[in-house]
Amino acid sequence: MRAVLLSCLFGVVCAQAHGAEIPRMVQETESGLSHAYEGPWEFFVGGGAAAFDCNGDRLPDLAIAGGANPARLYVNRSVAGGPLRFEERPLGLDDRRARRALGFYPIDIDNDGLRDLVMLREGRNLLLRGTGDCTFERAGAQWGFDGGSAWSAAFAAHWEADARHPTLAFGNYVDRSAPGSPWGTCEDGVFLRPRAGETPDYAEPFALAPGHCALSMLFTDWNNSGEVALRITNDRQYHLEGEDQLWRVDPERPPRLYRRGDGWRRLRIWGMGIAEADLDADGRPEYAITSMGDTKLQGLDPDEDDDLPTYADIAYDRKATAHRPYAGGDHRPSTGWHAEFADFNNDTLFDLFIAKGNVEAMPDFAAFDPDNLLLGDWSGDFEEAGEAAGIALDRRGRGAAVADFNLDGALDLVVVNRGDAPSVFRNTGPVGAETAGNWLMIDLDQPGVNRDAIGARLSVRIGKRTLERRIAVGGGHASGSVGWVHLGLGVAERARVRVRWPDGDWSHPYEVFANNFVVIDRGAPRAKYWYPPEAEP
């Protein structure tokens, strides 16, 4: 019971500096993920992974792009709380099609309860229909999907109102066949709204023109209206007069760009990845956008009208610029790729993971460029903890999967590296302590259409605070996840969960206990608890 400093006695803000708890990320060297993302210039970008359950055991499995190497599928064989273990399974593609993949996103397109895969490629993109037990079949022709011949590195999907199947958006990179390529020859993106019918039918593409060499895109409810827009980050390395984009997506109308007159403010960066999180739980998400040099952290400009998509950069204020390596002594600017908000230390605060790595051998940018783990602290800032957490490796990171692979309530991490095996990190709890904060894992399920409730919002109440999560397919860098949604609960032992389902209906509150996996079936009076397999003593 010691007295605090006098300066603290009369101040309203009395918080003493205290570092966020650092998760101990132990590198797993025998995970079974033996794979490298490699290849020529076309694969300097990309290198993504999808984390999703493909065999119904609720453990996240992995599909990983290989660039010039074949893409691979790994079934998760980890036991609860144990080391991360994966076992390779055939992806079901011939060798030619398995190669030239840049990334994967999981999504149940045909509403059969089995997750499908969108495979982004340099060349024809593929839709792989899940057929159970981690088997897949090509479904492009069956679903009226022309994979095109572009070089695709970005993808996002969303169920529009009353649609039976998701709207798909593909972001394309450089058109190498255009005169003057690669400078100023960005390929247009593709917007695929499904035709009505029982079977997915994507035979009516719409060009997202102009394209500015997209490397990440995300459907986002930027103004909490219930209507999404399509946020795209573009690589200024190759576009000439381009910029990042926000497409307005009105029902039954072609997307149209938000322009200066709509409040959109020009942003020109080497955009590589997008992540969204509602950091202040006001219903309007903030965005992390990776680049070469500064990472951007954008929030709606408080000096502008709320209904205008006018963003201000708050990365500097929040100490989240991550603009150069924090370790290794290389002071040249960083190159950021995958970005993802998550709570790695279960303290209730969002952290930000950024995969880093030189494009290949760009001399003006850091060669040793470790991935970032920016931990959110109680002042609202972020603190770099990559080195202390154990993820500061000499790798060229690209895409990543953040998921609880061993179902112990702590988020693990798999980073896809260019020219090297994936980095696999098991989160073993905080540095200097044996136990972490409380947690909750939530899986949403709705009958009929959009089984995984893509577009839903989770609003989790602990005490006076509300933790928000949005279920989305897209963003990051060529990587996505579907399945358990993780929340750190800190010292809360209980939580009330409400779901805003994709059609806008709010659920009643579900009262659940911490440190549990809960499944919320739409309309069910109570949440179901789920338990990982566990041997009897």
Partner: protein, 437 residues
């Protein structure tokens, strides 16, 4: 006197007697503002919660802080005991309206002060029950997964039934028919509602709510970013060692031992009353004894969550309560288990209905437990701890029995239908439930 917070290591360096003594000092001594009493910028909530503006008063009888010491209320008939109506606590979540200054039940639930004698045994019983219930769930899930068929599993521990669960082959569990315990199957034996897992957890909650003494392990910098979360100018108010000492002190309070009346008429009446207590159904919830496998009280306990010191956070400490059981003369069964005369099933029941609604007098659910549902009160010590009922507003044992509705209605009606003499026998029996020999 201003005390320094006791670290866990310092607590472990103490002998059990010294630790209990330190716990007794903390329990009985009145905290001062120099030690951190008061919480001007923090509410009574169990999750650290800031106020928007400073509390208007350093003391507040309803919303707290409302006591200088634990012993200010827990003192009848001796330290660690229950409290009269004047010591009632006003329980609210503390997330909204933290400064309520009204008895209006829409803001708080008014609760009497329970005694803590034998609390260590109660926690040990609950731990063993939790282990068994969770093992039954695990077995049902394994069977469902192995057979591919749903498995309906009755939940039974220490001969107390907690309903049934259905385990599905996909690993999900339907808890709609689980009764008297939370869906996570953790038996929480403390508080009138049965919503508190452990003495340690209770100590941290109560120290903040009633004294504004904030435990480092919940309100400290690790979980709030601040060493002085309540902004009273004192950092790290209760160390993990302090909470350990308080926990050990409470766990080591002697259990009520029962009483063998010297008066032959009383003795005979009590014997008849004991039989009657069984036959009219009181004992179906107020189980005369619950068997306990092990008397080893470990701290931290196995089922606390973050915000209360957990196994793995610190080197464990063990105190054997067997000497207390021996001193109290507890019997053992043929398996060697101690028979703890707690007179409860440690299960929650609805205790009010349309006709008999006296105990359904609350408006607010508490931690997901319905307003009319309470833990079966442990009757050991009941003879020395009037008044009764969760609000402490029932003067006599007779009144308390007659107030039972809901799950207790049938036994209550049977009691009411007894002759005066038979009812007197039941009361005579309950009057032997003394706090200490």
């Amino acid at each position: 006197m201003v005390t320094e917070p006791l670290s866990r290591d310092a607590a472990l360096a103490l002998s059990a007697a010294e630790l209990r003594e330190h716990g007794a000092r903390l329990f009985a001594g009145k905290f001062t503002d120099a030690e951190g009493r008061g919480r001007p910028m923090s509410t009574q909530a169990i999750v650290p919660t800031k106020r928007r503006r400073a509390a208007r008063a350093a003391w507040q009888r309803l919303s707290g802080p409302d006591a200088g010491a634990c012993g200010s209320c827990h003192n009848e008939p001796v330290l660690g005991g229950a409290g009269d109506f004047a010591t009632n606590a006003f329980v609210s979540e503390g997330f909204t309206n933290p400064d309520f200054d009204t008895l209006d039940p829409q803001f708080s639930n008014e609760r009497g002060t329970n005694h803590l004698f034998g609390a260590g045994f109660i926690e040990l019983l609950a731990r063993e029950m939790t282990v068994e219930l969770q093992a039954q769930r695990r077995a049902a899930l394994n069977r469902a997964r192995a057979t591919g068929e749903p498995v309906k599993a009755p939940l039974l521990t220490k001969d107390v039934a907690f309903g049934t669960l259905i385990a599905f082959p996909d690993g999900t569990v339907d808890v709609a028919r689980v009764e008297g315990v939370d869906p996570d199957l953790v038996v929480r034996p403390f508080g009138q509602k049965g919503v508190i897992t452990s003495l340690r957890n209770f100590t941290i909650n109560a120290a903040n709510a009633h004294h504004g003494m904030q435990a480092v392990e919940r309100f400290g910098a690790r979980w709030t970013g601040e060493a002085d979360f309540d902004e009273d100018g004192v950092a790290d108010e209760l160390g993990t060692g302090d909470v350990t000492a308080l926990t050990v002190f409470q766990a080591s309070l002697p259990p009520p031992a029962g009483y063998e009346p010297e008066n032959p008429a009383w003795r005979a009446a009590a014997a008849r009353g004991a039989r009657r207590f069984e036959t009219i159904g009181c004992a179906s919830c107020h189980r005369p004894t619950l068997p306990l496998e092990s008397t080893l009280f470990t701290d931290p306990g196995p089922f606390d969550l973050a915000g209360t010191l957990r196994a793995g956070d610190a080197e464990p400490l063990a105190v054997d309560l067997a000497p207390l059981a021996e001193a109290a003369g507890f019997a053992r069964d043929e398996a060697g288990r101690w028979l703890i005369p707690v007179s409860s099933d440690l299960k929650r029941h609805p205790i009010a209905d349309e006709q008999v609604a006296a105990l359904g007098n609350e408006l607010l659910a508490q931690r997901f437990v319905a307003a009319d549902t309470f833990l079966t009160a442990e009757l050991w010590g009941v003879a020395d701890t009037a008044p009764y009922g969760h609000r402490g507003n029932l003067d006599t044992l007779d009144a308390a029995i007659r107030a039972h509705g809901g799950s207790g209605r049938k036994a209550r009606d049977a009691y009411a239908a007894l002759s005066d003499k038979a009812r007197d026998d039941v009361i005579a029996y309950l009057r032997t439930f003394r706090t200490a020999p």
